[in-house]
């Protein structure tokens, strides 16, 4: 008996963590509620939701600091201001995207989130800006077994109230009935004389305002920082996957419960407190793929469309050969012109992007978790080479294998869901890997694994020499690039194209499409791991940067900037992104803003990417030449 009691923590600590859990749960609930409402009507995952939550807190902070406006007015003003901003965002940017694949909406809001976070970090730094509790809610109640700060009690009660009010509006009022009708069948609802576009716009604004409201309430508890949004949003995605997006009550209940579970984990097994939500998500995916409150799993009967803007592009064999020859020539000559370390970075990024493109461009799967493979492999390679004295090739092999195993687990879990869910699940799983890397001993937390020896290739070639290392990296890159090309061109690649084009039909021809997707996912993970392993040797460092979600963002950015589904696109994208990171490093957070802006521009008007657009242009020019060779000189003659 006493042994069991000894295992229990002291009661005040227990209640303290339960309280923190409920507070976190309040914010999870409010944020996932907003996400669910927006998703229900707009069918997009609002990636900017975290940034809008942050803007709410920031708005309150600015109101107080510069205008002397206190907490209570801010509670009203901030949601209105941020909500209005959301309305504008919907009208100008999201509305033109509705006719496209839902993934574009996600990419756009991801870009918007980057821009906002970067701008705020520029202005206010990344350290916390304290925001005082409102005086009327200062102090604490003594409950006998613990002290309950009044403000915290208020947050829990207020957010519960807001959640229930939202539920009431949606489920029980006429306005809510219109909303649900429009979710079911927009065309029919419009026929009843309801202005659906305006309703969509206001719903988005409402969801955003809800996030801002949560931000204001969070400000006195967490302080206001630029990254407070991106920190919470990934957990909220996991909450949404667990709860299932279809249900309002589901979002509320799972938000509070998971906050509570997180708090309790902090008491009983603190090491897992940052990962517990993701672990629960993985278990739920295994047991009930549709989520705890979600409707039964949709079958594959309905056609899925994919983000393959370039699927109509075809390269003739000579083009492929020319691209390859140009690539090799450039690669061989480049280190005599450009700093080799920079070039090696480009090559690592390029291989990473090509591996990512294999999945997005040729299977139509958008993964937001590729950082786990890149960073995971770089850790394993660095550790194997440094601590176990592995040869560089063996070290790379170890990293690649580790990435492959991770890929198998991720893919096995994530392929149970499609489209945006797939993206959210991969993101959440990668965040779990990130937190594991923060916690594990061998990764050395913030310092990373430093002074990784490059060693001798096959015991002969000294890779400490920059040029030797460069040509080694270049050779590995070419191997990876060739492999990807081979995969795309193979019988397997043929099936992948069929799956991307029309998945139900591929099934009806007898292909178990999930198995093909899984193999493609693992291949992409292996190749990403190859890039990450190289990275560790090149920079002689494996650090948290490589497993952070921004690295997954980089993979996406490079691919869509260069051109989804093109052979050379990811390489061009890698050159630009690595160049920006290198040469614009002094600009600090502006790089994040520029990254975000590129996302927005690419999604809004440049969906084929640089190489894709160039190919289309080239084809037009060629067609013109073919059809008007006689015409051209004669018009010239006429004008001169």
């Amino acid at each position: 008996m006493s042994a069991i009691l000894d295992l229990l923590p002291p009661l005040p600590a227990l209640f303290g963590q339960i309280l923190i859990g409920l507070i976190n749960g309040s914010f999870y609930a409010m944020l996932s509620l907003g996400l669910a409402v927006i998703f229900g009507l707009l069918n997009i995952v609002n990636f900017a939701h975290g940034a809008q939550y942050m803007l709410g807190g920031l708005c309150a902070y600015i109101l107080l600091k510069y205008f002397g406006v206190g907490y209570w007015p801010a509670l009203l003003i901030a949601p209105v201001v941020v909500g209005a901003f959301g309305v504008l965002l919907e009208r100008l940017f999201l509305r033109p995207l509705y006719r496209l694949d839902h993934l574009y909406g996600m990419l756009l809001t991801f870009g918007v989130a980057l821009v906002m976070e970067g701008l705020v970090r520029n202005q206010y730094g990344s350290t916390g800006n304290p925001y005082p509790e409102p005086p009327s809610l200062a102090g604490a109640w003594n409950l006998g077994f613990m002290y309950l700060p009044v403000y915290r009690a208020w947050v829990i009660i207020a957010s519960l109230g807001v959640c229930l009010a939202t539920w009431y509006v949606i489920e029980r009022t006429r306005l809510g009935a219109y909303l649900r009708a429009a979710t079911e069948n927009p065309k029919l609802t419009r026929a009843f004389g309801i202005n659906v576009p305006r309703m969509v716009m206001l719903t988005y604004g409402g969801g955003v305002a809800l996030a801002a409201l949560a931000g204001v309430m969070a400000a006195p508890i967490y302080q206001v920082t630029a990254q407070m949004g991106s920190e919470i949003i990934i957990v909220v995605f996991a909450v949404v996957v667990i709860g299932g997006m279809g249900s309002i009550i589901g979002a509320i209940v799972s938000g509070f419960v998971l906050g509570l579970v997180e708090g309790l984990t902090k008491v009983f097994y603190p090491e897992a407190s940052t990962t517990v939500v993701f672990i629960i998500m993985a278990i739920v995916l295994l047991v009930r793929p549709a989520g705890l409150f979600g409707a039964a799993t949709r079958t594959t009967a309905a056609g899925e469309s994919h983000a393959t803007a370039a699927s109509g592009l075809r390269l003739s064999p000579p083009t492929v050969r020319n691209v390859t020859i140009a690539l090799i020539a450039t690669g061989v000559l480049a280190p005599w012109v450009v700093y080799p370390v920079f070039l090696m970075k480009v090559l690592c990024f390029a291989l990473f992007a090509c591996a990512f493109n294999l999945l997005l461009g040729y299977v139509g799967l958008l993964s937001f978790g590729h950082a786990a493979f890149y960073g995971g492999a770089s850790y394993i390679t660095a550790h194997a080479v440094k601590m176990w004295g592995f040869d560089p090739l063996l070290g790379i092999l170890a990293g690649v294998l580790a990435a492959g195993i991770l890929g198998l687990v991720f893919g096995w879990l994530a392929i149970r869901r499609q489209g945006i869910y797939f993206a959210m699940i991969t993101l959440a799983l990668a965040q779990m890997v990130y937190f594991s890397a923060v916690q594990a001993e061998f990764t050395h937390n913030d310092e990373g694994i430093q002074a990784v020896p490059r060693g001798h290739l096959l015991g002969l070639v000294d890779l400490g020499n920059a040029l030797n290392m460069y040509y080694f990296v270049f050779a590995v890159f070419l191997l990876g690039f060739w492999l990807i090309h081979r995969i795309i061109d193979s019988p397997f690649g043929g099936v992948l194209k069929a799956v991307r084009e029309n998945e139900p039909r591929a099934i009806s021809l007898g292909y178990d499409t999930d198995h093909y997707k899984l193999v493609a996912f693992v291949l992409s993970a292996l190749l990403s791991g190859m890039a990450g392993a190289l990275d560790a040797l090149v920079f002689q460092l494996a650090s948290l940067t490589n497993v952070h979600w921004t690295m997954s963002g980089h993979a996406i950015l490079m691919t869509i900037l260069g051109g989804v589904g093109t052979l050379a696109g990811p390489i061009v994208g890698a050159l630009i992104v690595a160049g920006m990171e290198n040469y614009l490093a002094t600009l600090g957070a502006w790089v994040t803003v520029i990254d975000g802006a590129i996302f927005i521009v690419c999604v809004m008007m440049f969906r084929r990417g640089i190489v894709g657009e160039a190919a289309v242009l080239l084809r037009k020019v060629r067609l013109k030449r073919k059809t008007e060779p006689v015409l051209a000189p004669s018009t010239k003659g006429a004008t001169s």
């Binding site: 009967a301 081979r486 995969i487 194209k497 039909r505 007898g510």
Partner: protein, 253 residues
């Protein structure tokens, strides 16, 4: 054991409940080997749901499905296809951004057992071209072998779809509204194609065009409100009172 059943597909007591809405309830359907069997009925009668159930694209809430006397109620849809029951879809069952030949090859490729071989050259599948081109010729598309399916008119796409299905050498073809979206001329062509196919295969089709159904099918099953209303040859069905009330009476000529 022993005797082969005259029925290739036997469904018993099929029901599908979509969260309280009973789309199909207690449907018995038996398709006789070597016949063309049509499934007709007004919109919302549950025909396509039955299709989705027997091909396992939907899991039935109740009921049992046997194909060649083998219980397939719990199988995955891809497995059902591999057993020889291949379906098409109402909207489009072609791979739009592949050429006609590539479309056919996707189907032919499955039997080579190399579909997971990501290390092989695509060219290793060129041995399938001869068979592919023969199939293309059999549906009259030889002139379009290298055209993207997206550039073909609907009627031709239907032909690509049928050729792709035939490439799998199925025993039973399920066609979901093969005439939808087709013009008069295409209807004639596709009808002829289906009649041709029906000589060597069993065909089950959902179709709205009654003259096509009358001309092609040996047996007709009429559905309404998720249930079977009547079954028999056209001459018998067209005289059935219930059918007239539920189907012909509701505006159809």
């Amino acid at each position: 054991m022993g005797r082969v059943s005259p029925f290739i597909l036997e469904a018993e007591g099929l029901s599908k409940d979509f969260g309280g809405f009973l789309a199909v309830s207690g449907v018995d359907l038996r398709v006789r080997r070597g016949t063309i069997h049509a499934l007709i009925g007004p919109n919302g009668a549950g025909k396509t749901t039955v299709f989705n159930l027997v091909t396992k694209f939907l899991q039935p809430t109740k009921g049992r499905i046997a194909y060649n006397q083998r219980d397939i109620t719990q199988l995955r849809p891809a497995m059902v296809a591999r057993l020889g029951m291949v379906r098409s879809f109402q909207i489009s069952a072609v791979f739009l951004h592949l050429t006609v030949r590539e479309n056919i090859r996707v189907a032919l490729q499955r039997r080579t057992g190399t579909s997971f071989h990501f290390w092989r050259r695509g060219r290793t599948l060129d041995s399938l071209n001869e068979r592919a081109d023969a199939l293309i010729a059999s549906v009259g598309l030889s002139d379009f072998t290298h055209e993207l399916a997206a550039n073909l008119p609907y009627g031709r796409r239907r032909a690509v779809e049928i050729a792709t299905t035939l490439a799998l050498e199925p025993e039973l073809l399920l066609l979901d509204e093969p005439m939808s979206g087709l013009g008069r001329e295409d209807i004639g062509r596709v009808s002829e194609l289906i009649r041709e196919v029906g000589r060597g295969h069993t065909v089950l089709m959902v179709e709205h065009n009654l003259s096509v159904v009358a001309a092609l099918s040996d047996t007709i099953t009429v559905m309404a409100h998720g249930q079977v209303l009547a079954e028999g040859p056209y001459a018998e069905i067209s005289k059935n009172r219930d059918v007239r009330a539920a189907y012909l009476g509701s505006g159809h000529a």
